[in-house]
Subunit: 335 residues, 2 copies
């Protein structure tokens, strides 16, 4: 049995999304337990009579706002739903926690409460992105938890990503690549060049550089980048997808022929939409901590948030923190 | 009359693409002159009898390879088509040059031969990206010419982008934004924060931060970023577009219904393709030099390369270098 603590107050929609998602996850996964953390009265109201026996509520009197400073949230809100959910891991009451709340605050709080693993300087946010390779997706880190990552940190990201994919996806020697602005060794900034050198000397299955398009087209398992760059890449993709939808809608309205074409193309566009639905890929592990923390997209709906809870169960079951602790030295090539 | 020097040997396809593009541009723009620079015999062969009177050939005995080190190209290939084309600007024989060759070599050679404008530390590559705003596109710089750009350089990029858009697009006070990983002032790395401070103190029409999705969805005229980040953003977009095409093709093949739907949706997809066709946006000015240099995508066809030649005529006609020279001090807020 795995127990998941859910920050019920986090995200753009709070309990309206988190509570139905938790109820559905608990109903579909009777073997696991879910603890909804937040304002008890509000959660109880939202729950109504839909309460599976493997779901319980833990009160927390405060909540972290989406635009609140992480430092302030950490210092002032010791009874926030986010903090209490993370405390449950530390106290051994939960195996993992899920939050759709303020990313910076989640990262700062998780790091403060759970601490990083020995040898890991900073935790990193790993996201799964759908792509063209046979596996259907790639893992990319860091996704905005760390800006200005030095070469040593990028190597740690590579090792953590490799161990995560090996554990959760059962890939034997995950192929790890560095995101760069060219394939050739002379390309990139000093940080990327140094990171590539370290990775080549490590026991990682390092396959070299990929460029931005490689996120969607290359056949690697893990792509490593600085958090600033990773965040820009993922947000740029969101913007492009939004624009394509917008133009398609406009062009369908162009004339009678295009309107008919638009109608006729629904089955194909629906299939495309399903394959690229970000809700299917929701739930980004924050790796490098002494505990399992999963970040959900803040604006997701209950289907997406449930996917993040299921991801938490999956990651917690494989005990990624312990594997990172054991694997770090050997992968770095240390004796 | 504007004279454009064309590096005939550059790009993935060399004279097969550049010569027909130059012939077509010369035929459509009788008022301008085109100089094709490269191996004279090969160019003459490719030209055959199709030779408009406003097109001439200038011999250059060498060519820079696409994967050649920029430093080596600069030192060893003094008679390369790229170098000779740029020399024509310096000698006053051409108003601008266009090359689809090695970006690093083009940048290094242009900088060495033409020199940067007073007060500009490094030239920057500006690209035009189609987006959702009424203007239909946005200008983004830097696109890979500079990695690790310090804050002062980002401000110079903002000023050069602003002057380019003002000159070529006749926008009065272009809205300039910085690419960041959040809208709030506390987000981003130290470089971005410092650049934002400088831009706020300048006379630029600085409107704050946009995130990656803002490239496609926000209503600003100029987006400024480090060359590494800009390159990743644009390449990531290319990869996503490629994946969407790939999935659409797969899903159309799924069953009889989807095949019919695919057939029926052709008119809409064609319109979408036309609006997003990168060939329409080919030709990225390298700004900050004492001369006008336009970089074409290396893999473009003759339609795309002709667009780059036309862009060169447009940019050369507005005399962007002189405007940057005159505008830099006032926009920085200097007396």
């Amino acid at each position: 049995m795995t127990t998941i603590a859910v920050d019920a107050m986090g995200g753009d929609y709070g309990i309206e999304v988190t509570v139905p998602a938790a109820v559905s996850a608990a109903t579909h996964h009777r073997e696991h337990e879910i603890i909804l953390v937040g304002l008890k009265d509000q959660i109880e109201d939202q729950l109504g009579k839909a309460r599976p026996s493997n779901l319980r509520v833990e009160h927390a009197s405060e909540q972290v706002e989406m635009d609140e400073s992480p430092a302030l949230a950490l210092r002032k809100k010791k009874d926030s739903s986010m903090r209490v959910a993370i405390n449950l891991i530390k106290d051994g009451e939960a195996d993992a926690c899920v939050s759709a709340g303020n990313t910076g605050a989640l990262m700062a709080t998780a790091r403060f409460v759970l601490k990083t693993l020995p040898g890991i300087d900073r935790p990193s946010l790993v996201t799964t992105i759908p792509n063209m390779r046979p596996a259907g997706h790639v893992h990319v880190l860091d996704l905005g938890a760390n800006v200005d990552s030095p070469a040593e940190l990028l190597v740690q990201f590579g090792i953590m990503g490799s161990i995560l994919v090996q554990s959760v996806e059962k890939v034997d020697r995950p192929k790890v690549a560095l995101l760069n602005i060219g394939h050739e060794d002379i390309k990139g900034n000093d940080t990327i060049k140094a990171a590539a050198k370290f990775m080549r000397e490590s026991n990682l299955n390092f396959v070299g550089f990929v460029e931005g398009d490689g996120i969607y087209t290359s056949d690697v398992d893990v792509i490593v980048c600085d958090g600033f760059v990773g965040n820009v890449a993922i947000k740029t993709s969101e913007g492009l997808a939004q624009m394509i939808k917008h133009i398609l809608r406009e062009e369908v309205q162009a004339n009678m022929l295009t309107r008919l074409a638009g109608l006729a193309s629904m089955p194909v566009l629906k299939r495309l939409g399903r394959r690229m639905d970000p809700r299917n890929y929701n739930g980004a592990p924050l790796v490098g901590l002494q505990g399992t923390v999963i970040k959900s997209h803040g604006g997701t709906d209950s289907t997406g948030f449930e996917a993040a809870i299921v991801e938490a169960v999956k990651v917690a079951a494989t005990n990624v923190p312990e594997r990172i602790r054991d694997g770090l030295g050997p992968l770095l090539g240390e004796q």
